[in-house]
């Protein structure tokens, strides 16, 4: 999006930032498995209620659009997703919990959105859907919705290990004009406040999710781009392998945590 409204004074933000002190970056350590918490636990009661009730969760609008797309024929092959995969409620159960997953033909991990587009190209003979476009968000929300409540299950083997390591390296690397690393906020200072917001641990278990700031549904890569902008770093392009590696690392870091798609976040 190239527009945004700003009606808030930045002085208060500066004041709020001062309340936050970063620990030494060198002391960074992964959060012990038992102490991991979803961003859901850190948000207000009203926002949690918005996520919990399908009738009021605005993400449901995208999920229903995704269901319609799942059953609609696309491309010159004249096939719908359902032509091969049948009822997504059965065939897609648990699938999103395993993404990003290794793609043998491409010899690297691909995320759910890429998998949908590869399927369109290979099976449906249809053009790819644009990253962050309404249709790709709807389809990925519908597919990921079938894994709601199931634990993230990222399998790391010798093929995926180098990509996991690359993602971890990005997470710990200082970057941007503020010279910050992801770990400084999300490992060392989670639960504290950055401006008025509580810093979450950054477990990406609810994507695509409805963000009140966006007033719409968005992907994990859109959120990562926002983080990069926050660090005054140049964000990678949508679909960049660096982003997929980071997604892989984050989903592995959240292994065992339950998927929440479509989650709601402030």
């Amino acid at each position: 999006m190239s527009v945004r409204i700003g009606v808030r004074p930045c002085l208060a933000l500066a004041a709020a930032c001062i309340l936050l002190e970063f620990a030494k970056a060198g002391a960074a350590a992964e959060i012990p498995l038992a102490e991991r918490r979803s961003g859901y636990d850190l948000m207000g009661r009203e926002t949690r209620a918005m996520q919990d009730d399908d009738a009021t969760n605005p993400g449901t609008l995208w999920v229903l659009d995704g269901e319609a797309l799942w059953n609609a024929k696309a491309g010159s092959a004249g096939r719908a997703c359902s032509s091969c995969h049948g009822d997504a409620r059965a065939s897609m159960k648990g699938v999103a919990a395993r993404y990003p997953a290794f793609d043998a033909a491409r010899r690297r991990p691909v995320n759910l959105e890429e998998r949908i587009n590869f399927c369109r190209a290979d099976r449906q003979k249809a053009p790819p859907l644009a990253f962050e476009g309404k249709d790709l968000l709807a389809l990925s929300a519908y597919v990921a919705r079938q894994s709601r409540g199931l634990p993230s299950e990222i399998a790391i083997d010798e093929r995926t290990k180098p990509f996991l390591d690359a993602g971890r390296e990005t997470f710990y690397r200082r970057q941007g004009q503020l010279n910050l690393a992801c770990t400084q906020c999300h490992n060392d200072n989670w639960g504290k406040k950055l401006a008025g917001s509580i810093i979450p641990q950054a477990h990406p278990t609810g994507y695509p999710l409805y963000r009140l700031e966006w007033q719409g549904l968005g992907s994990l890569q859109r959120r990562l781009r926002n983080c990069f902008v926050g660090m005054r770093a140049e964000p990678y392009a949508y679909g960049a392998p660096e982003f997929v590696d980071l997604e892989l690392y984050l989903m592995w870091r959240a292994r065992g945590m339950k998927l929440e798609t479509p989650a709601v976040r402030p």
Partner: protein, 153 residues
């Protein structure tokens, strides 16, 4: 390692950056504009405090979408019911937020929605009863600031 001094510089830069990314401050409705909007609804009739319960979180995660509900004490019978519920936010660019028209078939006088709250302020709900009287309730809401917002792309 980050010294406290380095961090304060970084924080200032972060805040400044977000300020730059923001558009110019918007014109705001004033409490006087809100009073005008309320008078349009009441026709100048007196508004009594009470019977109207406006629920909104006192501290919101994000002002873009704030759950709000209004309930009005009323038997909701043919003889005695709530005709309308109006909501006003005095610090928004426009004071009018939403107006709902209901009747005895509603069973209860309830409206639940999600609203935009531009800044920390008082939100007011006014109910118009079938006997022509007006009642009001209000709630204060504090809007906090977020960090790492969507930047120019």
């Amino acid at each position: 390692m980050t010294s406290r001094r380095d961090f304060l510089i970084a924080a200032g830069s972060l805040a400044g950056g977000i300020g730059l990314a923001s558009a110019a401050r918007q014109a705001r409705a004033t409490p006087a504009a809100a009073q005008d909007a309320i008078r349009k609804v009441t026709g100048g009739a007196p508004v009594r405090r009470g019977r109207v319960k406006l629920e909104i979180s006192p501290l919101v995660d994000n002002g873009n979408s704030v759950p709000l509900s209004v309930t009005v004490e009323s038997p909701m019978t043919q003889a005695d019911y709530v005709k309308a519920i109006h909501v006003f936010a005095e610090q928004n660019p426009l004071p009018n937020v939403v107006s709902a028209y209901l009747g005895p078939r509603s069973g209860r006088a309830l409206l639940a929605t999600r609203v935009r709250v531009a800044d920390t302020q008082t939100v007011v709900a006014i109910a118009q009863m079938s006997d022509g009287s007006f009642w009001s309730g209000s709630a204060d809401v504090v809007v906090t600031l977020s960090a790492c917002l969507e930047g120019p792309v």
